[in-house]
Amino acid sequence: MGEVIVVTSGKGGVGKTTSTANIGTGLAKLDKKVVLIDTDIGLRNLDVVMGLENRIVYNLVDVIEGNCRIKQALIKDKRYPNLYLLPSAQTRDKTSVTPEQMKKLADELREEFDYILMDCPAGIEQGFKNAIAGADRALVVSTPEVSAVRDADRIIGLLEASEIKQTHLIVNRLRSDMVKRGDMMSSDDVVEILAVDLIGVVPDDENIVISTNQGEPLVGSDTLAGQAYMNISRRIIGEEVPYLDLNGKQGLFSKLASLLKKN
């Protein structure tokens, strides 16, 4: 029986889609059967981040409306045969789907997959309600900024009200140099405000931008962000993984080494 996980944040642009793509790919790397569902109807992105846009024939709304079978709409990932994507529709809007329909869909997919990851749209309206409808647990993504943390707090409140049993926090785009200078909240500060369990901290890494543009999730690569996402995937399946030292690559030696590598 699979587990349905919703990745949400409230605020836009904090990295829900990037996190969904990387964590999902990470879980697939750990030999789990995974399906990613893009619930952002009308503003689909996950297919682009996964580099699967050109394979879309049917989408989520087609499945819900019965224009095709689920199997026909699921896109097999080009790298991992046990990873699938159910893309969202671009020409429709959030009202094309109801929470009941999403719950039914999630329950059907539960039979066949180990993990079902829902990429939630920004906001707290219909799209959010659709995305959380069938979920067992939630990953709340927030950047260490007051605005994002404020929205995350609101979201956590709504998740609690909708009886989702487990909520974990991902602090994304942390810059340890700024934290050291006292110019940015640390992950501890964010955890203190939100009072939920932390499941991972992802550093601000320019490799993320590169990987997103290329449609190749970087999870598991030797970049800091790649390792951070891999650790989150491991923690999701229940492994105990120590937290990364985000300063690791800031040392003089490794800086020199990376400079040499580039040349």
Partner: protein, 221 residues
């Protein structure tokens, strides 16, 4: 059946429901009787007629039409057939003709198509502008994009395998022609220079080629 001839009608025509078992000569009598009785009602109307309930030969149909002409002042404009086989033949012929038409006639659309926008056309379509990723064009005929094509296009949507797609800058996410789908390469190819290209269907594969004289000669509208 206690009523071997039933006449049903609407504003534009009548349906004559005939008994299947009765001998034809007997039936003719009944038909004559029925129409005689209702000739006042029909007076000089112009109508279409169709026959149901009994398979009629051309000869028999002729005879019945004669009876109607004799007994009433009704003017039968045409007889509508209720034969699924013939209907299929007509449908096929009409579809083929319409397909040819949709390939040979066209509409214009001026403007850029952005993500989420869909342009659907019964005929061929000429877009003066760009088609961005996430936008979609569906046409029963050909698709010509005077701009860059970076979205999804579906030519020959009703199954016309002769349909083609032309663009000044051919970079689509997906091309469909009739029942065949082609997708863009996963690794983007560094484009040498922008060239007008044509996508067409041949032996179940979609080919994209530079639009030159030889290719032009192969196009049939």
């Amino acid at each position: 059946m206690n009523n071997p001839v039933i006449i049903k009608g609407n504003k534009y025509g009548i349906v004559v429901v005939l008994d299947d078992l009765m001998k034809f000569d007997e039936l003719k009598e009944k038909i004559a009787e029925k129409f005689r009785d209702s000739s006042k009602f029909f007076s000089k109307a112009q109508m279409a007629v169709s026959f149901e309930g009994r398979k009629l030969s051309n000869e028999e149909q002729r005879e019945i039409l004669d009876i109607i002409a004799e007994e009433t002042e009704l003017h039968v404009v045409c007889v509508i057939e209720d034969d699924p086989q013939k209907e299929a033949v007509f449908k096929k012929a009409l579809d083929e003709k319409l397909m040819e038409l949709s390939n040979a006639t066209g509409q214009f659309y001026k403007g850029n198509l952005r993500s989420g926008q869909v342009l659907e056309s019964e005929t061929s379509i000429i877009v003066i502008g760009d088609v961005n990723p996430g936008a979609r064009i569906v046409s029963k005929g050909n698709i010509i994009v005077l701009g860059s094509l970076k979205g999804t296009v579906f030519a020959g949507a009703t199954g016309n395998t002769n349909s083609f797609v032309v663009s000044l800058d051919m970079n689509p996410v997906q091309i469909r022609i009739a029942d065949t789908i082609a997708r863009s390469p996963d690794k983007p190819i560094k484009e040498e220079k922008k060239e007008t290209k044509i996508a067409f269907l041949e032996d179940g594969n979609i080919y994209i080629e530079t639009l030159n004289k030889e290719v032009l000669n192969d196009i049939n509208l």
